[in-house]
Amino acid sequence: MKKYVLLLLLLSFSVTGLAGGVYQEPDAFVTEAFAGHPPKAAVIWPSSELKAQMKQILGHDYKGLRIRYWKEGNRTAWILDEIGKDKPITTGFITNQGKIETVRVLIFRESRGWEVRHAFFTDQFDNVALTNMNRLDRNIDNITGATLSVRAVTKLARVALLLDEAVGEKNNT
C-alpha cells in the first residue's frame, strides 16, 4: 500500500513538474500563423473608450499603452498576457473578421491550471465572436481545477476580439 502511495506522490510531482513552461515562442506562433512569412508588426494605441471596455472585461487596467499585432488581409495575430492566479499566461490568438480562428497557450507560468493548453479546451473558441455586450457568443466549458486559467484565457479571447474590431474600424476609417 505504501509503495502505491509513494508511486502516486511521485507521479503527481512529475506531472506538476512537466506542467508549466514555454509551449511555443510567441514569434514562432506568429511565423506559423502566417505560413512562415509574418507581416511587419503594427501597434494599436487603445483609445480611452477601448481601454474602459478592456478594463471591464479584465477587471483591471491593461498594462501598457500600446498593443502589438500582426495583420495580413483579414487575419490578425495577437499575443496577450493575463494573470491566472499569480503569474501571467501568454496566449496567442488569430482573429479573422470578428471571429476567433486559433487560440494557443504559449507560455504558462503557474503551477496549476495548465490543462488550458490542450486542444479540447482551446478548440471551444473556434469561430467564437463577440456579442453586443462584449461577451462571447458561445459558452466555454470550465475545467475542474483550472478555473482561474480558464477565466484568464476566456477574458483574453474577448479582449482579442475587441481589439480586432478596433483595428478593423481603424483600417476602415
Binding site: 515562442e25 510567441p26 514569434d27 514562432a28 511587419k40 508588426a41 503594427a42 501597434v43 498594462k63 501598457g64 499603452l65 500600446r66 498593443i67 502589438r68 499575443i79 498576457d81 501568454t90
Partner: protein, 259 residues
C-alpha cells in the same frame, strides 16, 4: 510524605516550572501591553523601524543590489525584481537587468529575453518579449538615437524609431549604457519607496504582543503563555490558601495543646 503534602508539593513544583517557562513571554506580554496602552503618548505609530534584521524579517528589506542606469533626465533602477522610474515603481520583472537607454520617443529597458518600453514620463508602453528572433540580451546601447542590443553570439540589432522592426548592424559607434551608482540620498529615497510606508514600532509591538511576529504558530505560543499565566494565578492562589490553612492549624495547635 502524606497524600495531601504530595499533592501540595506537585502543585508547587508545577507552579514553579510554569513560572520559569512563561517568564520571558510574560515579560514580553507585559512590556508590549503597557506600550500599546500608551500608543499615542509614545508615538508608536509615528516611529519607523530601521533595523535591517526586522525589515528583512517582515520581507521589507530588498534582496540584492540596486542596478541603476541614467537615461537623460531620469534614472531607471531595478531593485529586488522591482523596476523604478526615478523612485516611482513601474512594474516587476523576474529577469536580470542589462541596462536602459533613452531615445527620442521612448525609454527602453533590456532584460534577458524582454524589453520594456516606457514613455518619457515613466508610463509603461509595452512589454516586448524578444522570443526566438534574438534572446539572451547582454547589453543595450544607442546609435543614431535608436536602441541597439547586443545578444549572445554576439550579434547587434538596431530598432526602428517605433521599436517595431530590427536590423542587424555591426558593432560600430554604439554608445553602450553605463551602470551608475546611486548616491546615499537617492538610495535612501529608493529604499523608502521600495518599503512603501515602512514598518512602524506599533506594528512590531502588536505582533510581539499577539505572537504573530513568530509566524503562523506564534499566536499559539502566546496562547500557551497566557494559559501558563492563568495556571500561575490559580496555582499561586492554591499554594497561598494551603499555607494559610497550615498557619491556622499551627496556631490552633499552639493555642490548645502547648504545655
Amino acid at each position: 510524605m502524606t497524600g495531601r503534602s504530595a499533592q501540595k508539593h506537585t502543585v508547587f513544583l508545577w507552579h514553579r516550572r510554569a513560572g520559569l517557562t512563561a517568564i520571558v513571554f510574560v515579560i514580553v506580554l507585559a512590556i508590549t501591553g503597557i506600550a500599546l496602552n500608551h500608543t499615542d503618548a509614545l508615538k508608536l505609530d509615528e516611529r519607523y523601524i530601521d533595523s535591517a534584521f526586522l525589515l528583512g524579517w517582515y520581507g521589507l528589506e530588498p534582496e540584492g543590489e540596486a542596478i541603476s542606469y541614467d537615461v537623460g533626465e531620469h534614472v531607471i533602477t531595478v531593485l529586488d525584481h522591482q523596476v523604478f522610474f526615478n523612485t516611482y515603481p513601474v512594474t516587476t520583472t523576474t529577469q536580470a537587468f542589462h541596462g536602459a537607454v533613452g531615445t527620442a520617443q521612448l525609454i527602453v529597458l533590456a532584460f534577458d529575453t524582454e524589453l520594456l518600453l516606457l514613455t518619457a514620463d515613466g508610463e509603461l508602453v509595452e512589454r516586448m518579449p524578444t522570443g526566438q528572433g534574438f534572446s539572451e540580451i547582454q547589453r543595450i546601447g544607442i546609435k543614431y538615437q535608436r536602441p541597439v542590443i547586443e545578444t549572445a553570439g554576439p550579434r547587434y540589432y538596431m530598432a526602428d524609431e517605433h521599436m517595431l522592426d530590427w536590423d542587424v548592424i555591426i558593432n560600430e559607434d554604439i554608445a553602450w549604457a553605463q551602470q551608475i551608482t546611486l548616491d546615499q540620498t537617492k538610495m535612501a529615497v529608493m529604499l523608502e519607496s521600495f518599503r512603501g510606508r515602512g514598518l512602524t514600532l506599533e506594528r512590531v509591538m502588536l505582533d510581539l504582543h499577539s505572537g504573530r511576529i513568530f509566524g503562523a504558530y506564534g499566536i499559539y505560543l502566546m496562547d500557551a503563555a497566557a494559559v501558563a499565566l492563568l495556571w500561575l494565578s490559580f496555582s499561586g492562589l492554591w499554594v497561598w490558601w494551603q499555607r494559610q490553612l497550615k498557619q491556622k492549624r499551627k496556631h490552633h495547635y499552639q493555642k490548645h495543646h502547648r504545655g
